[in-house]
Subunit: 153 residues, 2 copies
């Protein structure tokens, strides 16, 4: 009969790590998105920033960062690349000169229409019902929020 793997080692086994499940799923998503986003000329993090801006633009960098859990060290160069691609404009706020406001250009707004094809393709690749995906998403968000609550306490 097959030898049972040591029980004391179970907590350190790779396949028992939920963090690795999440980590590897994130990379899998990235690889599925890649060819879709190439057509839009966006990377995946850039796509996330555009999602935020398509909901509401003319917002400070900080707001985008809070929404995506990213800091200026990540966002500043990313936003400069979006500016170089003529998708956004970066302007100092006149009320508070510490803030840099990010606004969509006409091109940036227009890209939203091309982007509508993306979620459909992702749904198809997930090979899963919408309701199942929504349930999973809610569970993962709840876990994420519990993890974030522990940070900095």
């Amino acid at each position: 009969m097959p030898r049972k793997p040591s029980a004391v080692d179970a907590p350190l086994r790779l396949d028992n790590q939920i963090c690795f499940a999440v980590y590897s799923a994130a990379h899998a998503f990235n690889r599925v998105y890649k060819p879709l986003l190439d057509r839009l000329g966006l990377t995946y993090p850039q796509y996330l920033v555009m999602l935020v801006l398509w909901e509401r633009d003319d917002v400070p960098v900080k707001d985008i960062g809070e929404r995506l859990f990213l800091d200026s060290g990540t966002l500043t160069p990313l936003l400069k690349r979006l500016e170089a691609a003529h998708l956004v404009r970066r302007t100092r706020s006149s009320e508070d000169e510490r803030q840099v406001l990010i606004a969509l250009t006409a091109q940036g707004h227009a890209l939203k229409e091309k982007a509508r094809a993306v979620p459909q393709s992702i749904l198809a690749a997930s090979d899963c019902s919408v309701s199942e995906l929504v349930a999973m998403k809610d569970e993962i968000v709840a876990l994420r929020d519990r993890l974030n609550a522990v940070i900095g306490e």
Copy 2:
């Protein structure tokens, strides 16, 4: 009464993206792991490599890559850093000189004992029962595998 948000925009809303749930959960995990792994002198991806090697070492780079879904472009420099930290040894296989075998040093083996404290802390931070976490992990792995199946077809 509050205006209902446009239904056509729902698929592009950030909070409806399961990919963003996964992406942001992965970053949240990373932030929770950071202080724990700092004590071991490891980054999170380095920790994953060590988990693989603690199960079985003296394996080629390729095997580690298949296990973690990473390629040599990521692993080669990472393994060189682990070697510089005296946790692994990198040796060309004599049977097949294309392969580089990764073996743990005594220090690398010893670090496993210190690492046993990590999963407990993560479980506590998750604020969730083991059975719930296992169920979520299995769902996420199944989704990941479906996504990976779509890639390259």
